[in-house]
């Protein structure tokens, strides 16, 4: 786990703390009684979070969901934020075995020019959305920091909140994006099991586990107000990965109390060109357990629901624990306007428009909020 010298190192013990606790986590060691305590106590700690993720919590999922809904309503009321992702480039230097953008996959590669980004964003903004998440494949050559910064600057013209989900970069890189209008940084660690991480990331800079792990902290040092965390559930033992994801966010929030924390909850999905990769999928009940555990452990965190999930699951979970939901999603470069459509990163299961999502929320007594920020 040694990091090459050309990658920026920061003084931090967060990774060691998270990994040592995650390695020691034995999900089978928790009893139903401990889960009940974790559900009904008012101040939950790390051991409560561990219990909530254990198999013993499965029979108590309804109780967990009730408690999670209560926490969500208390903190967020009836508000649910809407956003959409925009993929501006799918060039990638990594070889993630589970991903459609894998450098070895023969897919149509492209990156949008500034005019294309603007035209896509204008179209998205016309749907009423005021928050956008800019994504790229992880190519520092084809989508360098200046290019992403330019995209942020264009986004600023149309959107109140701009998130970036791109390759990890140094503090200076994050400072550049911040100066050009970005508000939030999300980085998926994919898996917190270093051995499994090495297996599924055989090539590219992404192989360097610690550099990716410390990305959120570098973004906060650069001045970002919010950071997002996720494990790609199904890559490894999902309970351990969810436990580590929560701890990662928990220790970062303790170190940077102002940081706005968010979780994404992606399950592995089939990808184009990735059919040979075998993985163990979570059931919907298991995914819901993870989402509720995040909510109960960190009641103030945003939780985003992926369009990887189907409409029925999303519609129900948004009323329980999720506070942010994507709408009008395309995961292909140029997919919003159809100007230059590439192959997508993964397959989506909920392609409803912004209006359709708004109507769904309204029918459930929830309110679509387009932006939290001016």
């Amino acid at each position: 786990m040694v990091q090459p010298d050309d990658l920026e190192a920061i003084p931090s013990d967060v990774m060691e703390r998270v990994l040592s606790l995650a390695e020691a986590y034995d999900a089978s060691a928790w009893s139903e009684k401990q889960v009940r305590r974790a559900i009904h106590t008012t101040q939950r700690g790390v051991s409560d979070f561990a219990a909530l993720l254990s198999p013993s919590a499965a029979p108590l999922l309804e109780e967990m969901a009730q408690a999670a809904r209560s926490e969500t309503r208390c903190r967020f009321g009836n508000s649910v934020s809407l956003f959409t992702p925009i993929y501006i480039s799918n060039h990638c230097e990594n070889q993630c075995v589970y991903c459609g953008f894998n450098a070895r996959n023969r897919i149509h590669r492209t990156r949008l020019p500034a005019s294309g980004i603007e035209s896509e964003m204008r179209g998205i903004a016309e749907s009423g959305l005021r928050e956008i998440l800019i994504l790229t494949g992880e190519s520092r050559v084809k989508s360098d920091v200046e290019y992403i910064g330019e995209a942020c600057e264009i986004a600023r013209k149309y959107f109140r909140a701009v998130g970036v989900e791109v390759y990890p970069m140094d503090v200076a890189g994050y400072a550049h994006l911040l100066a050009h209008g970005a508000d939030f940084v999300t980085v998926f660690q994919e898996t917190y099991d270093p051995v499994r991480y090495g297996e599924v990331h055989p090539g590219g800079r992404k192989r360097v586990f610690p550099y990716r792990f410390n990305a959120q902290e570098r973004a906060l040092i650069a001045g970002f107000r919010g950071v997002g965390f996720a494990a790609l559930l199904g890559l490894s033992d999902f309970r351990k990965d969810a436990f580590a994801t929560g701890l990662h966010a928990y220790f970062i929030q303790r170190k940077y109390p102002h940081a706005e924390i968010s979780f994404s909850c992606p399950r592995l999905r089939p990808v184009r060109g990735g059919s040979a990769f075998r993985f163990s999928s979570l059931t919907e009940a298991e995914l819901l357990q993870v989402i509720c555990a995040y909510r109960l452990f960190m009641p103030y965190a945003n939780i985003t629901l992926s369009s990887r999930e189907n409409a029925r699951f999303r519609d129900n979970v948004v009323g329980i624990a999720a506070t942010k939901i994507s709408a009008g999603v395309s995961v292909a470069v140029g997919g919003h306007s159809g100007i230059e459509k590439s192959d997508g990163q993964f397959e989506i299961d909920d392609a409803r428009s912004v209006d359709e999502i708004r109507r769904m929320l309204a029918s459930r007594g929830l309110q679509a909020v387009m932006s939290d920020y001016l």
Partner: protein, 265 residues
């Protein structure tokens, strides 16, 4: 009957030169805009907080369209982490047509949402000098309350408990000190979870109550707003009437010293 501070015998609440007969400030941050009108009517509220995120000019859901005529919008600076950010948001609110009232919230803690008193004083100084009617959300610290008053705050808004927690009057002893020592109105802001707590705070002499989550999370939102109105009015009436004494023990009808009178007889 007591005449409360800064108010005359008609018992009105005066903020920024404007008189309010209602002492209930309604939060609007956590529920559907369509419910706001009903909630305002049931609450009898004359002031409603306005999350700036919802005041988008020309947006599909502009909260200003939902606020009944005569109700004063109180934009807040939620999301601000420094005095400068709060000042920027307040100026933006004014530009958006939200008026001169502003509730200052400066928060650097994403978990408990506790206010940063120091930055709040700085923001209050700047905005009061610009003619805003500044209503600062603060942790109930007497020295800070004095600083806010000196900085030109129209009131102070101490928290009773963390925002959204519904935990009730956790800091009431310190709020009572502010009521005794501060000349501007003391308005209890966060943490009130039920009408009885609002009533108790009003009995203690606070000038008004702001509530949001307790109503937003109720089963019947307008009905709960109405319940709060009644509780606040009852608490105010009790304060003005002067609460009866409170004893630690019973007041016996056969007192221990009664034998002295027996001898006299």
């Amino acid at each position: 009957m007591k005449a409360a501070k800064n108010e005359d015998l008609r018992d009105v609440l005066t903020l920024g030169g404007r008189e309010f007969s209602s002492r209930f400030i309604l939060g609007s941050g956590k529920y559907s805009l369509t419910l706001i009108r009903a909630a305002v009517e049931e609450a009898g509220a004359q002031m409603i907080t306005l999350a700036l995120r919802r005041a988008e000019r020309g947006g599909a859901e502009n909260i200003l369209d939902y606020i009944p005529e005569g109700v004063v919008p109180l934009p807040n600076t939620s999301g601000a982490r420094t005095a400068e950010e709060a000042v920027r948001l307040a100026r933006l609110a004014r530009e958006l047509g939200c008026g001169d009232f502003v509730k200052i919230e400066v928060i650097r803690d994403s978990k408990y949402l506790l206010p940063d008193n120091h930055e709040t004083v700085r923001a209050t100084e700047i905005l009061a000098a610009e003619g805003f009617v500044v209503m600062p959300y603060m942790y109930p610290d007497l020295n800070v309350a004095r600083d806010l008053q000196d900085a030109g705050a129209a009131c102070v808004m101490p928290l009773a408990a963390p925002i959204g927690s519904n935990r009730g009057l956790v800091t009431i002893d310190f709020i009572r000190i502010l009521v005794e020592e501060i000349d501007v109105p003391v308005i209890v802001d966060a943490g009130i979870g039920r009408p009885s707590q609002a009533c108790e705070a009003m009995e203690s002499g606070v000038a008004a109550i702001m509530a949001n989550t307790a109503i937003a999370t109720a089963g019947d939102l307008p009905a709960m707003a109405g319940a709060f109105r009644k509780a606040i009015e009852a608490g105010r009436a009790a304060y003005l009437a002067g609460l009866g004494r409170v004893l630690d023990t019973a007041d016996p009808s056969s007192p221990l010293t009664g034998f002295l009178r027996d001898d006299d007889a």
